[in-house]
């Protein structure tokens, strides 16, 4: 019998029940909740008289639509519909007795940054949230994926999820990365290679030397975008880097429990003879700093490339590529490094952690943003923000001309006032470049924090290697 993958092992440890057709009931260890995809689920509980089965395993934080400007504790400073959603989360957290970090709490932030930061996310767990970027938590060797609101209600009521097992896919990044190349470039390059449906039906395990060499922040960036490759979840086997990050966090195990946990966590890796349904291998040294040119995260090219033509593609992608070029206002053959931008957004659950802010600040130190540029940094949590202030990063950003905001999802999905206007072009460290994602008619180029900082300085997409 073949060995097991990491996914197999976590799955097996959480199966409550298996039906004849293979449909399983999977136990959920952590349920993260935010204000936008949960109100209807709590309403469903009220209408049926059901309770939250495990409030101690449920953590809520408002992040998607909260303003990132001062004074937001006062609902009068929110739009009316946002205030209603945040008030609903306040009430639901209180009524159902779940863990809660309101906007007034320094620990508030993007749910996928708060979970790991507070030690809620641990290796070997099952983690769900009504948000597709739940894949982030896979960086800890946790099986983590996004769910819809009906499933949010199901998990609240039963602490389980009805699931069928996905297939196993291995994505190996061999060797070392070159200077100026980051976790964001890895994850975008993988999507560029496999397409946005390449991972559909799979759980991905990322491995190889270049992945092992990443910090936890970098690993979270990689797993965060597993969903953009279509996968249900992305995983990285836990190791000393993981254990060092987790140890001492507020909700991490302590004392004898820590030792017991560590013993189990060290077994959480794929066996050498495990079966893989699909394998993708990239050489770390082949990965360049990349940007997206179109309106799908698979539209990835090295910054040294040129805007492609629709005719470069096949099948249904021809029409989609033409639509992207029209939407983005780009001419085939234009060098990517000549594309002018007017907005820079550094933040999001993909790149809103301390290491991301350090990487951007390293480029910005002693420099100013280009004339007319609007640039903002939105730290991923209140604690990231405080740490960045302590390290002097906030000063570097402010002196360069960036706005220094409060924590939230912000312009990644533009549900709050942070939005692009039609035709505005943004260098963004977030995860989606869909039409209208950052505001109707707004044009998004995805890239790493260092690349976004470089673009802020020069006013156009820029190879960060020219500035280091």
């Amino acid at each position: 019998m073949a060995g097991k993958t990491l996914y197999d092992k976590i799955w097996d440890a959480h199966v409550v029940d298996t039906q004849d057709d293979g449909t399983c009931l999977l136990y959920i260890d952590r349920h993260l909740v935010h204000e936008v995809t949960s109100p209807q689920a709590f309403e469903g509980l009220r209408m049926t008289g059901r309770k939250v089965r495990a409030p101690e395993k449920t953590i809520a934080v408002p992040d998607h639509n909260v303003p990132t400007t001062p004074g937001r504790e006062d609902p009068k400073n929110m739009t009316e519909d946002s205030a209603i959603q945040v008030a609903a989360l306040d009430k639901n957290a209180k009524d159902f007795g779940i863990n809660y970090y309101p906007v007034s709490d320094i620990r508030q932030g993007i749910v996928h940054i708060v979970g790991p930061e507070q030690g809620w996310t641990l290796p070997g767990m099952t983690v769900v949230c009504g948000d597709s970027h739940t894949a982030t938590h896979g960086a800890f060797g946790a099986l983590a994926h996004g769910i819809g609101t009906s499933e949010v209600e199901h998990v609240l009521a039963t602490q389980t999820l009805i699931q069928k097992k996905s297939k196993n896919m291995k994505v190996e990044i061999t060797g070392k990365l070159r200077p100026g190349v980051t976790a964001k470039d890895i994850t975008l390059s993988v999507i560029g290679a496999t397409g946005t449906a390449g991972g559909t039906g799979y759980v991905i395990e990322y491995c190889g030397e270049a992945i092992r060499d990443l910090s936890m922040e970098g690993r979270m960036t990689v797993c965060n975008m597993a969903i953009e490759g279509g996968a249900r979840a992305g995983l990285i086997a836990p190791d000393e880097v993981t254990f060092d990050y987790v140890k001492g966090r507020p909700h991490a195990p302590k004392g004898a429990q820590w030792e017991a946990a560590l013993t189990w966590w060290k077994t959480l890796k794929s066996d050498d003879d495990a079966h893989w349904d699909k394998v993708v291998t990239l050489k770390g040294e082949d990965i360049a700093p990349v940007v997206t040119w179109g309106t799908s995260p698979e539209d990835v090219l090295p910054i040294t490339g040129v805007v492609p033509a629709a005719g470069d593609f096949k099948g249904g992608k021809v029409e989609a590529a033409q639509r992207s070029l029209d939407y983005m206002g780009l001419k085939p053959g234009t060098p990517l490094s000549e594309i002018k931008i007017d907005t820079v957004f550094i933040g999001s659950c993909t790149n809103g952690r301390i290491e991301d802010l350090r990487a951007a600040a390293a480029i910005l130190k002693g420099k100013k943003i280009a004339p007319g540029m609007r640039a903002m940094v939105v730290p991923g949590s209140g604690l990231v923000r405080a740490q960045a202030e302590e390290e002097g990063l906030a000063e570097i950003f402010k002196e360069a001309g960036f706005e220094w905001r409060l924590a939230g999802c912000s312009m990644c999905l533009a549900m709050n006032p942070d939005q692009l206007s039609p035709g505005e072009r943004c260098a963004a460290t977030s995860n989606r470049n869909f039409e209208g994602r950052q505001g109707r008619g707004g044009r998004t180029h995805l890239m790493s924090p260092a690349m976004a900082a470089a673009a802020a300085v020069t006013g156009h997409l820029t190879d960060v290697r020219d500035l280091i």
């Binding site: 936008v36 109100p39 009504g130 819809g148 946990a261 209208g436």
Partner: protein, 201 residues
């Protein structure tokens, strides 16, 4: 949840690949605490100008497709955000079935929770169905879940696969939570065992 058994209706052709949930229902409409009423904003930025005028060429604005109940779509329909507002908006507009070569995982799951049937067909079948959909309002397609077939307006029939449990739930309009709560003793047992094996969780 409404049952899904057999549906005969107009199919709208949407051959674009990678239609994402931001297109299906843009974020400004997620600021609701209800499930209902999202149909008027379905495909909002493709369907309406910034001033709220209808964009005539968009398929669901064309007279033949205003009453569509089925969408035949390009690859990877429903990719992106997990927002269940996407199937809520489709359902509220009147769409009960989407046919494509592939769907994004979360959207696919969300459909079944709302009485919408997503059908995966090979490219050559989707091509035939797309052509049939292009014929307009007089060409009605039939989706029969019990027999797992899609039949074009000219009588060509194609079989499709569907998960047995999901089919059962759709045919009977069953509530997942109610079904799971019948297994509450298994959940209790699992929790006790897991609390001993992994007390730190």
């Amino acid at each position: 949840m409404d049952k899904f058994t057999k549906l005969t209706g107009i199919a709208a052709p949407m051959p674009l690949v990678n239609i994402d949930t931001d297109m299906i229902i843009p974020k400004q409409f997620l600021k609701t605490i209800k499930r209902s009423g999202l149909g008027k904003n379905l495909f909002d930025e493709m369907r309406f100008t910034q001033d709220g005028e209808e964009i005539a060429e968009f398929v669901l604005n064309q007279p033949a497709y205003r009453q569509a109940e089925i969408i035949v779509a390009g690859d990877n329909f429903g990719c992106g955000s997990s927002r269940e507002h996407a199937p809520w908006a489709l359902l509220d507009f009147g769409i009960r079935c989407v046919i494509s070569t592939s769907f994004a995982d979360i959207f696919f799951n969300n459909c079944f929770k709302n009485g919408i049937l997503p059908i995966v067909m090979p490219q050559e079948v989707v091509d035939v169905l797309m052509d049939d959909a292009r014929k307009g309002a007089n060409a009605r397609m039939t989706v029969d879940l019990e027999n797992q077939t899609v039949t074009t307006s000219d009588g060509q029939s194609f079989a499709f696969e569907v998960d047995a449990f999901r089919k059962h739930c759709l045919l009977n309009g069953l509530d997942d939570i109610g079904l799971t709560l019948e297994k509450v003793s298994a959940i209790d047992t699992f929790e006790k065992t897991a609390a001993q094996a992994r007390p730190w969780v």
